[in-house]
Symmetry: C2
Subunit: 213 residues, 2 copies
């Protein structure tokens, strides 16, 4: 099997890669990385990702890290398989790139830390920083206000078709659905319809069914 994903299934970044592979209907080998013993900070993992964070990815001789670079590669290299996630036209692709950046720079800036504070810390027996959570909820609300206006104009972030820009949001939003942050999404009708759409996709349901941690 040519494709390998190294990581921990609890990580939203690893789930993002699983989801992309599911949308593309690609088979892969999963290599478990034990974060409790910090395997991600040691060889052989850091030979692929020198920053020591999951996921790492292999496709034959190609070795990649950074979940968004990995999903971009999968979407490009397997453009003709499964769900189309990118487009060739430079102008349409530019809109996908804008919303890929918005996810990575603005949504994730609040979402990743919220997910860690509310979803991961309790599992690890750590104390959630409630003041930080309140600050991040306010930050995420301003981001979602922009999403609400955008999604009133087009069904998906980059236009009328589901794209990698929508897809990259799914694992963090899925984590938020089990927490008080869910209300931020519910209060915004276009955002809420979009969440239902992207979380309900068969590829994500397949990923969820396979998660085991």
């Amino acid at each position: 099997m040519a494709i390998k994903v190294h990581g921990n299934p609890r990580s939203p970044a690893v789930q993002r890669v699983f989801l992309c592979l599911a949308e593309k209907d690609l088979e892969y080998e999963f290599v478990y990385v034990d974060l409790a013993t910090k395997q991600q900070k040691e060889e052989p993992f850091i030979a692929i990702n020198p920053f020591g964070q999951v996921p790492a990815f292999e496709d034959g001789d190609l070795k990649l890290f950074e979940s968004r670079a990995i999903t971009k590669y999968i979407a490009n290299a397997y453009a003709d398989k499964g769900t189309p996630l990118l487009v060739q036209d430079p102008m349409k692709m530019a809109m996908i790139e804008v919303w890929l950046e918005v996810e990575a720079q603005r949504f994730d800036a609040a979402g990743k830390t919220l997910s860690f504070e509310i979803c991961i810390k309790p599992i690890k027996g750590l104390t959630t920083d409630e003041a930080l959570v309140d600050q991040l909820i306010a930050q995420l609300a301003t981001v979602l206000d922009v999403y609400e206006k955008r999604l009133a104009q087009s069904k998906y972030l980059a236009g009328d078709k589901f794209s990698l820009a929508d897809m990259n949001h799914v694992p963090i939003i899925n984590n938020m659905m089990k927490t008080k942050v869910r209300a931020l999404f519910e209060q915004r009708p276009h955002v809420w319809a979009w969440c239902a759409d992207i979380l309900g996709r068969p590829a994500w349901q397949k990923v969820l069914a396979g998660l085991n941690f």
Copy 2:
């Protein structure tokens, strides 16, 4: 003239777009946005960037925001003009995408705020948060340790050729050169040689000569 850049020349994100246009030898119109009067938070600017931050960009009917999405668009749409910044091969492009993500997620996480604290705050008469600066310097040092190993293996981040991944670093590194953070780069010989190379490029020298603020 089809291309317009809306922004303030002091912003590293705006300078990133100027640089990309210079590498591609493209003409453009610059539309000054007065940050002091918060023009970026009002119409007509927020019609292009609903997040209210510079830069915004137009190419004919196409309207974009997020500096990295803009430079990606320019590099794609004008692939045959000026300096090649991306490649067609999915495997080689994947390495560029990895290091584009590293810049955006890891380098910039420390670099942007350092630039603001050390370079922008004194201009605005604000007090630099020295404790935060020390914390960000430590964070940037660990990122540059990885860069040092990488640049010992290849002349540029994504391989033997200059790419958009290197280019996107230039404005923040340029700001750092005038501050105590310069030492972090000087102490790492491969990083230092890379800095001299990318800051010395004619396109950046042309941008610097044209900056007026």
